[in-house]
Each structure stands twice: as structure tokens, then as C-alpha cells.
């Protein structure tokens, strides 16, 4: 369970969120995207495009052909064996087995996104259905999200409950801006929130679901808005990895010469 504390304007945490999902698409994992802010369909349309070998080579080929077509005819006389290799170094993905590189300025093609199975949970579309589980005094929105997640996990066989399923796949779960007002939780607006335990109860059940299934999850939270620091300490204890993103936009560090090469700080809390 990866927990990411959002930066003030959410720019970089959104990017991290999209990278996580894009990696899932490229690896062929199933996706589950939950948000109360943006419709998951829109989030998925804006995933960065991966740098794959053939696309890179193809672009290069087009460019080169348009500009310097005469160069291609020059054949090498002495080093003729090298003639058949691509003119420039192949993109980094050919060497890495773990992880891929992405081009943030380009969007992932719809065909690539359609090649994986994805599920979405947009809070405002889910408000009509009634949760069947015991809510345990948890915030309604969180309860519905857990319900939906549990249903996908057991129907998709990610917890091994379907022995017929031959190919085991991983479910990548992304939950955006948890704890914000849009989820119906007031921990971001008040020092003494009404229900201090909703978020931590949710995380505990989520941790249970993750441990018993083949899934990985990233949750982003606007931590800078949470007044009650005790909650963040408890959240940290319940997560496996916690990272914090601090962007320099709008702060005095933006113009500080020490930080001129950077856009922000990445805190590894746990």
C-alpha cells in the first residue's frame, strides 16, 4: 500500500498517479481507478505515452526521411557491417526489464488503454446504490468504495477464489485525493473532525483486501490540508510505503538559486 502525500496544487501527485496507472497498462495489469474529483475515464485518457522501441524508431525514421533523405543513400564503404543497424541508439526500454519510460508530453493511445481491462469508481455516479456490507460507522463513500473493490477482487479472481481462472493477473488500484472534502470526510477542513476514525478504518480494510489478493495500490491524499497530525501518523503506520511531494510553486523556494534545477522535493517518509 503506497501512500502519497499530495503537493499543494496536486500537479505532481497527479503525475505520479498517472505513471502508476500507465505502468499497469504497459504491463498488461488490470486497473481500478477511483476518484471523487475527476471522472476515471478522463484520468485514463491522459496517461503518458510509453517510450517503446518501435514507436521511437518509427518516429525517427519519418523525421530523418523527411529532412535528410539523401543521407540514407550514402552507404558505408569500410564499416559496411554497421549499415543495417539503426542510425541512433535504441531507446532505453530495450535494456530495462523492470519499469518503463514515458513521454509526459504525449498521451497514451486509446488502443493501448483498451488492451487492458479497467474498472472505475466515480463517487458521484455510485451514490445511488446501497452498500450491503456492515459499514462499521465508516463514512458512506469509503464504505461504497470498499464494497466495489471487494466485488471486483472476488469476481476477477485476484484473490484466488476462482480456481478456473488459468492466468493470474495483478490488479493495480489507484485512489485519488482520499480524505478530501469530496469524499464526504471533514478531516481536511476541521481541527476536530466529527469522525476521526473513518479514514484509518478504511485503510485497515483496504490493507486486508490487498494482503489477500494479487494487487498493488497507490492512494494520494491532500495531507497539507489535514490539521489533525495524529491522523497522518496513524495512516503512516498502516501503510507500507509513504512518500511526500512538496512542490516549489508559489513558495519562496521557487526563486531560491539553490533549488533552481528542481521543481520540488520528494520526501521518503517510510
Amino acid at each position: 500500500l503506497v501512500f502519497a502525500e499530495e503537493d499543494k496544487y496536486g500537479l505532481y501527485s497527479n503525475l505520479l498517479f498517472k505513471y502508476f496507472l500507465a505502468e499497469g497498462v504497459v504491463c498488461g495489469h488490470d486497473l481500478f481507478v477511483a476518484s471523487a474529483k475527476e471522472h476515471p475515464d478522463n484520468i485514463l485518457k491522459e496517461l503518458p505515452a510509453p517510450l517503446l522501441d518501435d514507436t521511437y524508431g518509427k518516429e525517427l525514421g519519418d523525421e530523418a526521411a523527411a529532412i535528410k533523405s539523401e543521407d540514407f543513400q550514402d552507404s558505408m564503404k569500410i564499416a559496411w557491417r554497421y549499415q543495417n543497424l539503426p542510425k541512433m541508439e535504441a531507446s532505453p526500454t530495450s535494456y530495462t526489464k523492470f519499469g518503463h519510460y514515458y513521454d509526459v508530453s504525449k498521451k497514451m493511445s486509446p488502443e493501448l488503454i483498451q488492451s487492458v481491462k479497467w474498472h472505475s469508481f466515480y463517487l458521484h455516479e455510485e451514490l445511488s446504490s446501497q452498500p450491503k456490507m456492515k459499514t462499521c460507522n465508516m463514512n458512506d463513500a469509503y464504505a461504497r468504495l470498499l464494497q466495489s473493490l471487494q466485488r471486483i477482487i472476488s469476481q476477477g479472481g485476484f484473490d484466488g477464489s476462482d480456481p478456473q481462472k488459468k492466468q493470474k493477473n495483478v490488479l493495480r488500484i489507484g485512489i485519488q485525493s482520499l480524505g478530501s472534502l469530496l469524499w464526504g470526510d471533514d478531516i481536511c477542513c476541521s481541527d476536530t473532525p466529527e469522525d476521526v476514525h473513518s479514514l484509518t478504518k478504511f485503510l485497515y480494510v483496504l490493507r486486508g483486501l490487498l494482503r489477500k489478493s494479487l494487487s498493488a495500490c497507490i492512494v494520494t491524499i491532500p495531507a497539507h490540508l489535514i490539521q489533525n497530525k495524529a491522523i497522518m501518523e496513524r495512516v503512516t503506520n498502516l501503510s507500507d510505503v509513504v512518500v511526500g511531494l512538496e512542490s516549489f510553486i508559489g513558495s519562496e523556494r521557487e526563486t531560491n538559486p539553490l533549488y533552481k534545477d528542481y521543481h520540488g522535493k520528494f520526501h521518503l517518509q517510510q
Binding site: 462499521c136 485497515y204 494482503r211 489477500k212 498502516l238
Partner: protein
């Protein structure tokens, strides 16, 4: 026997102590009730294997009673069948408005009650970790009551041991947690306090452990015995050494 040991960690992960005590007591032939709230059974099983103990076998033989908190919680939240009336879930406090941990205590009491002819030596209650109960909505008073009941049952009546892990930190704003930790410190016979180094991450020294033997509890006027060592966690064991004398330095 009859001792209450508190495991405490600050700025670091003290769970290596839990793994140690688990395999230590199982190898000694004690009957262990392990309330594992934060990790899955397979997590402990894999580490225990490295330490030379087979948790699955211990469970089958009845030496180990394992409560997997995460699984129990899922069964409680998503379970559709009504539980049998005589056997409420140990984590019942989650779904009820009363926040007392009676059901959890009953679970512990029943697990460690020795039937006649039981071959195991002294009962042990191991808990990882107590701070999670606060996150799940239990009040600090309920948690302290629960620990008190466990001490009376396990330490006094059954002459067994209790080992509990808590998290804490100096500048913590979690007042409820600090309250529980401070109260437990006063009642513990032995405190093992693992702290991360103040200077930050180091490859060869993973942290510092403070061993506090509460001699003052037995004899009035005596001072507690405090020993401080540094440690490094390896694959199958932990090495301890005096401060500043790690193998990397010598």
C-alpha cells in the same frame, strides 16, 4: 514467568523484536496466542522459517493460536452469514457502537486456557501492534482495560508472559497513543525500546535498543537498570554491539 514486556519503537520498525519473541517462545515449548493485527500470517511464517520455526506446524499441533487481524476484519465487514451466537468475532468492537474490547479479551482467554493434559509450558500472549486498535476506533481507556484484563488473566492467574508492541515518538501529536504508551511503560516489567539513529539512515547500524529492567517495581527505592546497545538486522539474526563499536568501524 508472569512478566509483562513492552516492545516500543520510535522512528524505526521494531517488528524484528516481535519475530524474535515469537520464535523464541515457540522453540521453548510455550503455548502462544499471537494477536497479529498489522501483517498477514504468511508474512510471519516466512520470517519464522528463517529463524527456524514452522508456524503452520505449530498451529496444527495446537501450540500456536493465531489471530490474523486483517482477515478477521474482512470476514466481519464483508461476511454475509450471521456469526454463530456463541462465537462473536474478536474484532466485534469495529461494528458495534460500544468500543470495549471484551470480545478480543475473551478470544485471548479461551485460547490460553489450558485443557487438562496439555503438554505445553507456560502460556504467552503476543500482540502486534497495539497502536492499530486506536486507529480502528477503540478508546485509550478501552485499550488499557483490555491490557489490564490480559495481565490479570495471563500473568497473575496462568503465570504466563505478555509481550506487546507499540509505536511512539517524542514529538508525536497522537495524544491518545502517547497516553497508552506512557501508561504501559509504568506497568511493564521490561521495556525494549528500539530507536532509529538520530543521525539518520546508516547501512551498518540499523538502530539503537534501550533495555530497561524495571527493578523499581519490585524494590522500592531501587533505580531501573538501563542498558543501551546498537544493532544491525541481518537475514537470520540480529547482532548487538556497544555504541560506536559496530563491525564497520572496528
Amino acid at each position: 514467568q508472569g512478566k509483562f514486556t513492552l516492545l516500543r519503537d520510535t522512528r524505526t520498525d521494531g517488528s524484528f523484536l516481535v519475530h524474535h519473541f515469537l520464535s523464541f517462545y515457540l522453540r521453548a515449548g510455550c503455548k502462544v496466542c499471537f494477536v497479529a493485527l498489522l501483517q498477514s500470517f504468511s508474512h510471519y511464517s516466512i520470517v519464522a522459517q528463517k529463524l527456524g520455526v514452522n508456524l503452520t506446524a505449530a498451529k496444527e499441533q495446537g501450540q500456536l493460536v493465531f489471530l490474523e487481524g486483517l482477515k478477521s476484519c474482512l470476514d466481519l465487514v464483508f461476511g454475509e452469514e450471521e456469526e454463530q451466537p456463541g462465537q462473536p468475532s474478536p474484532l466485534q468492537f469495529l461494528s458495534e457502537s460500544t468500543s470495549d474490547l471484551r470480545a478480543l479479551f475473551d478470544f485471548v482467554r479461551v485460547s490460553l486456557a489450558a485443557p487438562a493434559g496439555d503438554a505445553w509450558k507456560g502460556p504467552v500472549l503476543l500482540l502486534d501492534d497495539l497502536s492499530v486498535l486506536l486507529s480502528l476506533g477503540a478508546t485509550p481507556v478501552a485499550v488499557l482495560d483490555f491490557i489490564h484484563y490480559c495481565r490479570v488473566c495471563v500473568c497473575s492467574r496462568l503465570k504466563g508472559n505478555v509481550v506487546v508492541l507499540v509505536h511512539s515518538s517524542e514529538d508525536s501529536e497522537d495524544e491518545e497513543n502517547e497516553l497508552v504508551v506512557n501508561s504501559l511503560c509504568h506497568h511493564s516489567d521490561l521495556i525494549l525500546w528500539a530507536e532509529g539513529l538520530a543521525t539518520g539512515f546508516c547501512k551498518d547500524v540499523h538502530g539503537q535498543i534501550r533495555i530497561i529492567q524495571r527493578v523499581s517495581l519490585q524494590q522500592a527505592g531501587e533505580q531501573d537498570l538501563v542498558q543501551i546497545y546498537q544493532y544491525k538486522i541481518q537475514d537470520r539474526n540480529v547482532t548487538f554491539f556497544a555504541r560506536g563499536l559496530s563491525a564497520a568501524v572496528l
